[in-house]
Amino acid sequence: MGKIIFFARTYFFRMVIVALGVSTLCFLAVEFAPGDRALDVAMARYGLDGATASAVEYVRTSEGLEKHPFIRYKAWLFSVIQGRWGHSLVGGEEIFPMLLRSFKRTTLLAGFSLLLSFLFAFPLGIYCGRHPGHYVDILSSLASSVLVSFPSFVRGAFLILLLAVNFHFFPVAGFSSFSHMVLPAITLAIGLAATSSRVIASSIQQACQTEHYKFAQHKGLCGKNLFFPHGLLNASVPIVTYVGLQAAGLLDGVVVIETLFAWPGLGSLLLDALRSGDILVIQGAGLLLGWIYVTVNTLTDWLSEGFIL
């Protein structure tokens, strides 16, 4: 019980600090960035020509952009806590539903990629772990090293060239159907599977060389009864920890892939908002992203502790 309280406290503490930190940073970033916020917003709203002086002034006063930063920040914080995340300065949409939509899309892509990578990495990793030195093990090790040394967008570009342009198997980019998700998911999944399969292989290999694995063999266990409770179970602790780390790092990777494949998720949202100076969206998105990151990290810590509990 004590451990649960400890973790809850750590999580809450971390989350608050990161949330505050990220949103403050976002706020400062937008505040002190060169240029005029109101101008940026006006340009994004009305186009380059429509951003006349009066339009800019209108934006400034109607959105309260002339007030002192502190005041605005405080007001924003209060409204966020109350659940009112404001509305986009550019499109006028309510921010919270906007964020939620993007969040769902990003999660969909990330989740699907993870699933895809597991489907591939687990069997491969387990096979390599049980047969170290086998040519499959050596080949997959080399393949993993090579694949992971390419930046994700290069892998993605290659897949686009190969499958979308040359063979027209999948659409190049966009978001209207399932087939739009395939290429970005595969791109992400390749990188994930490359590292996961290696971690799985080495954890299993190590688990099968421990004293208690040997003793289990000597006790008379063999086959499934040996491998699952004494090999796989013990290997799963480092595997889960690593997969958790991967999932957290996935956040970074997703932003790049979303841009390449024009997938309208959280990452794209943040980038667009930065370009157009849409302050409230930036802050909201930054907050959400920070929260996701902390949650995934803490969950990973939880899970890896939980095995020993």
Partner: protein
């Protein structure tokens, strides 16, 4: 007297064909204990590994080891594996490295009943409860993971596994390594318990207090050669070989006299 294990003219050679164990022969009668005594480097662990089937691949073993009507040295690895846990039980030295830290002790003992004796889950549960209680392991401990146990209880869990196993032959490697005298008494009781259950025991050790406390047969190993072999009573009571006498003199009870260098040199010259 039925012979459970018979080692005949065993040679163990390293990669360079240098003999590490030379012409060792002894027999172990069923339901008795055989103590293989030797200092570090005498080759006793190598003999144990050869019998167990865990000899490192770089070493070669020649000779015959008869067990259950088979010559163990002729068996392939996969056939040897079939003996583990069913005919032959290798008792580990250290309970905390031998037991899986993620599974409860109950689970790990029950595995033996389920998979080597083929019992169904309910029956296995009952048998596990029985054997753990008989050995005095408290009920609360059953569901715990090994690292929560005390050393003594962990040892008894290993004993429970040895007794639960259908294997009639148990190989014990250095059971008193690093134990103080009070824990040694527990180890001696452990060995006696195993024998009471009708098992045959091969005990590899350097500790002479064990054969002095437990009746059985003994073999003295010096640098890979068996210098004496027979009933412990006879050999330890009136040793014929100077090395045996030297080992006895080195015991704390007899004065802790170290084996004289001249004796060792003389032995090396004549025997090797």
């Amino acid at each position: 007297m039925i012979s459970s294990l018979s080692v005949q003219h065993l040679f163990i050679l390293d990669e360079k064909k240098k003999p590490l164990v030379q012409n060792v022969s002894f027999s172990i009668s069923s339901k008795s204990v055989f103590f293989l005594i030797g200092e570090t480097g005498s080759g006793k662990s190598l003999i144990a590994q050869t019998i167990a089937g865990t000899l490192p691949k770089r070493l070669t073993a020649k000779g015959k080891i008869f067990f259950e009507k088979q010559n163990l040295l002729l068996l392939k690895d996969s056939e040897r594996q079939k003996l583990w846990g069913k005919s032959l039980f290798l008792m580990p030295q250290e309970p905390f490295s031998a037991l899986n830290p993620l599974l409860s002790v109950f689970h790990q003992v029950r595995e033996i009943f389920e998979y080597t004796k083929g019992m169904k889950r309910n029956q296995a549960n009952e048998s596990t409860k029985d054997i753990l209680s008989i050995l005095g392991i408290p009920y609360q401990v059953f569901k715990e993971k090994p690292h929560k146990l005390s050393g003594g209880i962990a040892q008894r869990v290993l004993l429970a596994m040895a007794l639960a196993s259908p294997a009639k032959f148990i190989l014990l490697d250095e059971p008193t390594k690093g134990l103080d005298s009070s824990r040694k008494k527990d180890a001696i009781l452990l060995i006696k318990e195993i024998l009471n259950n009708g098992k045959t025991l091969l005990c590899i050790t350097h500790d002479l207090s064990l054969p002095l406390a437990i009746e059985g047969n003994i073999g003295i190993l010096f640098r890979g050669i068996l210098v004496e072999e027979g009933k412990s009573k006879d050999i330890l009571g009136s040793p014929t070989h100077p090395y045996t006498q030297g080992l006895l003199d080195a015991l704390p009870e007899r004065g802790l006299h170290p084996i004289p260098e001249e004796l060792l040199e003389k032995l090396e010259r004549t025997w090797l």
